[in-house]
């Protein structure tokens, strides 16, 4: 019973990690690459570490003290990944936008207009609105 669930979690996790890397190779743009390479990898790592937690809980249930330590440390590692990975992705996206990398086929930058960056694009937009 435990073995089947552990195998299922391992298959889901490694599938999503491989998909994240393939998306990192195939997507055309920084922001879409960030979408593939960060979210898919975090989701896959949740399942991989979840399988390790389940393995530790199984060993603990069968009467080994080593299993409880394995499960608790794996939970701490999972919390570290869940806290740090989205924050790093947000920082990379902000840095990419501030260093002037535009999305592919992009014409206007609405984020810059909203934060009051350049007056020129807003004037052009006002003229178009008239």
């Amino acid at each position: 019973m435990f073995e089947i669930i552990i195998y299922l979690l391992l298959i889901i996790g490694v599938f999503f990690n491989l998909l994240g890397s393939l998306g990192l190779l195939r997507f055309p743009d920084v922001y879409t690459r960030l979408h593939a390479g960060t979210k898919c990898t975090t989701f896959g790592s949740i399942f991989l570490i979840g399988s390790v937690i389940l393995l530790g809980l199984k060993d603990w249930y069968l009467g080994s003290t080593n299993g409880s330590i394995l499960a608790i440390h794996a939970i701490v590692a999972l919390v570290a990944i869940l806290l740090t990975n989205p924050t790093g992705a947000h920082a990379i996206a902000r840095a990419a936008h501030k260093s002037g990398v535009m999305p592919i086929n992009a014409q206007v930058d609405h984020l810059k207009e909203d934060t009051g960056g350049s007056k020129k694009t807003t004037e052009i937009k006002k003229k178009e609105a008239r």
């Binding site: 195998y7 399988s51 920082a91």
Partner: protein, 89 residues
């Protein structure tokens, strides 16, 4: 002693394949943020691979190393992002 063919060895081999794919993106990447995204992906895959190694060898020290690696790679990613933004710290 572990047996030669374990399911965790197969999973870690596929994770190494995805690390190689991410390294190709790091080499090819036209701009600097592309390379930073590739490095971030490699860091996350290495962390999950270290936790799997800890489960494979039944040794806790691998998972402790994974926790410290996660926090240090987070700090390095934040500093590279701050550097790419420009301006003062």
């Amino acid at each position: 002693m572990i047996e030669f063919f374990n399911e965790y060895i197969l999973v870690i081999a596929i994770l190494m394949l995805s690390i190689v794919i991410a390294i190709i993106r790091v080499i090819l990447g036209p701009t600097a943020p592309d390379r930073v995204v590739g490095l971030d992906t490699i860091n996350t895959i290495v962390i999950s691979g270290m936790v799997l190694l800890g489960a494979l060898y039944q040794d806790i020290i691998y998972i402790d190393v994974a926790i410290v690696y996660a926090l240090l790679s987070f700090i390095s990613t934040l500093f590279i992002a701050k550097y790419l933004e420009g301006g003062g710290f």
